[in-house]
C-alpha cells in the first residue's frame, strides 16, 4: 500500500532513438502524476522566416532541408500548395511519379524506424546493435528495405538526402526506362520480404493498451492517401487544406520550442496508425488480405500497433510504386509551365510521421510573403503527453524508476517523433515526493 503511493521524480535527460533533442519530466506525488512534460528544447530553426522573400522556384530545395529523413514530404506538400494557387495541372505522369517518389520515402523511413528505432524496445534490447545479435536476418532485411526506399528517392530526386528532383509543375527530369525496369525488378523482389515483415511485426508481443483518441489523416476518395487529398478526422469530418485553421490551432507552451496543436481544443493523433484507422478500406487488395490474416482490429486504440501499421504501409508503398511504374513511359516534358500569381497557397500530404500542412502567402512575382509549416511531430505532442499519462497509469506507477523510464520511451518512440522537424527528444526527469 505504501509502495503504491510512493512519490517519484524521473528525468530522462536525452531521449534515445528519436530524431532531434528533447526531454521528459515526470513527477509523481503520493501515487498521482502531478507533472508530465515532454520538453522539446532543440532550438527553433526559423525555416518559415528563411522562406520569406524567396522565389517559388527555390521553395522545393529549401524545404527539403527541413528534414534529412522526410525531405520528399516537405517538397511535395509545398509543390502541391503552389501548383494549386498557380493553377497548374500536373501531367498524369508527374502526378503518378510524385506518388512513387513519396512511396520511396515511406519505405525508407518506416523500415528505419521499425528495425533501428522501435523494434529493440520489444525484444529487451537497448539498441539495434543488440537486436542484431538475436534477430540478424530481420535487421538485414530492414536494411535492405530501407536501402531500396533510398534508391527509389534517388531515382527521382538525384539523391536520397535532400533530393533536388521536384520543381513546381512536375520534376526537373525523368528517369530512363532502363533505370525504371531495374527498379521494378527490385520492388517486385522486395514484396515477399515486406509480407514477411508484416507477419513478423504481427508476432511481436505488444503491451495491451486501450485509449480513446481522435485520428487525423489525409484522405482521398479512391486511394490510400499519401501525396494528395483533404484532411479526414475520425469523427467523420472532412476538411479541405484551406480550411485547416478553422479546425486546428497551434499554441506555444512554456516547456517546448515546438508548437502544440489541437483539434477543436483536444489533442489528436497523426501518423501511420491514424492513417490505417481511417484509410484501411482503401488499401490494395493484397495488402488488405494480409492485414486481415494478421487479425489487427481496426480502428485500433493501442498506439503500440504503430509498428505494425508501418509494416503494412511499407507493403502498400511497394505495391503502389510497382503499379505506377508498370505503366511508366518517358514523358515529352517532365514539367508543366508555371505562371506565378499572388494569393494564399495551402497544401497537405502524409509525411511518414503524419499529416504535414503548408501555407504560403505569395506576391505576384512568385515570392513568399509569409509561410507556415505544421509538421506531424508538433501535432502529436499533445497526444504524446496524454498517451504517456494514460499508459503510465495503465502500466502502474509503482514500477522501479528504470522501468517507468523505459515505458515512457517506448510510448514516445511509437510516434517516431522528429524533433528537428518540429522545432521548432528525450531527457527524462522523474520526481517522487
Amino acid at each position: 500500500m505504501t509502495e503504491q503511493l510512493r512519490s517519484v521524480a524521473i528525468h530522462v535527460p536525452v531521449l534515445a532513438r528519436v530524431e532531434g533533442e528533447g526531454a521528459l519530466d515526470l513527477r509523481v506525488e503520493h501515487g498521482d502524476i502531478t507533472q508530465l512534460r515532454l520538453r522539446i528544447f532543440e532550438p527553433p530553426r526559423f525555416f518559415e522566416k528563411f522562406l520569406e522573400g524567396r522565389h517559388y522556384t527555390e521553395i522545393p530545395d529549401l524545404v527539403a532541408r527541413i528534414c534529412g529523413i522526410c525531405p520528399v514530404a516537405y517538397q511535395v506538400t509545398a509543390a502541391q500548395a503552389l501548383e494549386k494557387l498557380f493553377g497548374v495541372e500536373l501531367s498524369p505522369w508527374a502526378r503518378d511519379m510524385r506518388r512513387v517518389f513519396y512511396c520511396g520515402e515511406w519505405i525508407q523511413s518506416h523500415s528505419l524506424h521499425i528495425h533501428l528505432l522501435a523494434a529493440p524496445d520489444f525484444f529487451g534490447c537497448s539498441n539495434a546493435i543488440e537486436l542484431a545479435k538475436i534477430a540478424p536476418d530481420e535487421v538485414r532485411r530492414g536494411l535492405r528495405i530501407q536501402a531500396l526506399g533510398n534508391e527509389l528517392m534517388d531515382l527521382f530526386g538525384a539523391r536520397s538526402v535532400h533530393p533536388v528532383g521536384v520543381r513546381i509543375g512536375g520534376f526537373h527530369g525523368a528517369p530512363s526506362l532502363a533505370r525504371i525496369q531495374i527498379m521494378r525488378d527490385k520492388l517486385r523482389a522486395a514484396l515477399p520480404e515486406a509480407e514477411t515483415l508484416i507477419r513478423w511485426a504481427a508476432a511481436i508481443p505488444m503491451p495491451q493498451d486501450d485509449q480513446a483518441f481522435v485520428s487525423v489523416a489525409t484522405q482521398h476518395p479512391t486511394d490510400y492517401a499519401i501525396e494528395t487529398g483533404g484532411v479526414g478526422v475520425s469523427d467523420g469530418r472532412f476538411i479541405e487544406a484551406d480550411a485547416f485553421d478553422a479546425h486546428f490551432a497551434e499554441q506555444h507552451v512554456p516547456h517546448s520550442t515546438a508548437l502544440f496543436s489541437t483539434y477543436h481544443d483536444q489533442p489528436y493523433l497523426v501518423g501511420p496508425l491514424a492513417r490505417l484507422n481511417l484509410n484501411h478500406a482503401r488499401l490494395p487488395e493484397p495488402v488488405k488480405a494480409l492485414l486481415a490474416e494478421s487479425s489487427l482490429a481496426l480502428p485500433s486504440r493501442n498506439l503500440f500497433h504503430s509498428l505494425r501499421a508501418r509494416a503494412v504501409e511499407i507493403l502498400l508503398a511497394l505495391h503502389e510504386a510497382l503499379r505506377l511504374l508498370d505503366a511508366y513511359r518517358v514523358p515529352d516534358s517532365p514539367w508543366e509551365p508555371v505562371t506565378p500569381r499572388a494569393g494564399i497557397a495551402t497544401g497537405c500530404t502524409e509525411a511518414p510521421r503524419g499529416l504535414l500542412w503548408h501555407r504560403y502567402e505569395m506576391d505576384e512575382d512568385g515570392r513568399v510573403l509569409s509561410a507556415r509549416i505544421v509538421p506531424p511531430t508538433s501535432q502529436n505532442q499533445g497526444r504524446i503527453e496524454e498517451d504517456l499519462r494514460l499508459s503510465l497509469l495503465n502500466f502502474g506507477l509503482d514500477h522501479p524508476d528504470d522501468a517507468l523510464r523505459l515505458h515512457c520511451e517506448k510510448v514516445i518512440r511509437n510516434y517516431d517523433p522528429c524533433i528537428s522537424c518540429a522545432t521548432h527528444f528525450l531527457r527524462f526527469k522523474l520526481d517522487r515526493s
Binding site: 533501428l116 528505432l117 545479435k133 528537428s420
Partner: protein, 153 residues
C-alpha cells in the same frame, strides 16, 4: 584486384567538410574512381553506410570528430576502440560508429575498415574550414595516397 571504397563523410558546414576535402585531395593526387575503386562523399549516411561498403574488401572512411584535441589532429580508430566512442556526433541518433558496429554484428563489414577522424573546431554553415583542418586534410591525403600507391605496387 581488391574492391576499395573510400568515403569522406561530412557536410558543407565549416570544418565539417574535412572528410569531403580529403576525398577531393585524393582525387587531385590522381587516385581515380571507377573500376574496383569507389570514391565518394557522403552526408549523414546513417545505416545505409553498411550497404555502401559491404561489398568492398577494404573501406577507408574519413569523418570529422570533436574530442579534446586541437583542431586538425588526425586519429585512426581501431575496431576494438569503436564501442568507447559511440553516442557521439550524429544528426539522427545513428552515427558512423553505430552503423559500423551494427555492420560488424551482422557480419557485413569489409575485411579491412580504416576509420580516420579529423578533430574539428567550428562547423557553422557558410564558414570556411580553419587552417589547421586544411593542413590535416593534405597530410592525411598524402599518407593515404602513399599507402594506396604502395598497396597497388
Amino acid at each position: 584486384m581488391r574492391r576499395l571504397c573510400i568515403l569522406g563523410i561530412g557536410s558543407p558546414s565549416g570544418d565539417d567538410q574535412a572528410g569531403w576535402m580529403v576525398v577531393d585531395a585524393l582525387l587531385a593526387r590522381g587516385v581515380q574512381t571507377g573500376g574496383e575503386i569507389v570514391i565518394d562523399k557522403l552526408d549523414r549516411p546513417g545505416a545505409t553506410l553498411i550497404t555502401l561498403i559491404e561489398q568492398a574488401d577494404w573501406a577507408i572512411l574519413i569523418d570529422a570528430m570533436q574530442g579534446n584535441g586541437q583542431p586538425g589532429t588526425i586519429r585512426r580508430f581501431d575496431q576494438q576502440d569503436w564501442p568507447a566512442y559511440r553516442g557521439g556526433l550524429s544528426s539522427h541518433g545513428f552515427g558512423v560508429l553505430d552503423a559500423l558496429m551494427l555492420g560488424r554484428e551482422l557480419g557485413s563489414l569489409p575485411p579491412r575498415v580504416d576509420l580516420y577522424g579529423i578533430e574539428i573546431g567550428n562547423a557553422a554553415p557558410d564558414r570556411e574550414s580553419g587552417t589547421g583542418i586544411l593542413a590535416a586534410v593534405q597530410l592525411l591525403a598524402d599518407s593515404l595516397a602513399a599507402e594506396l600507391a604502395g598497396s597497388a605496387a
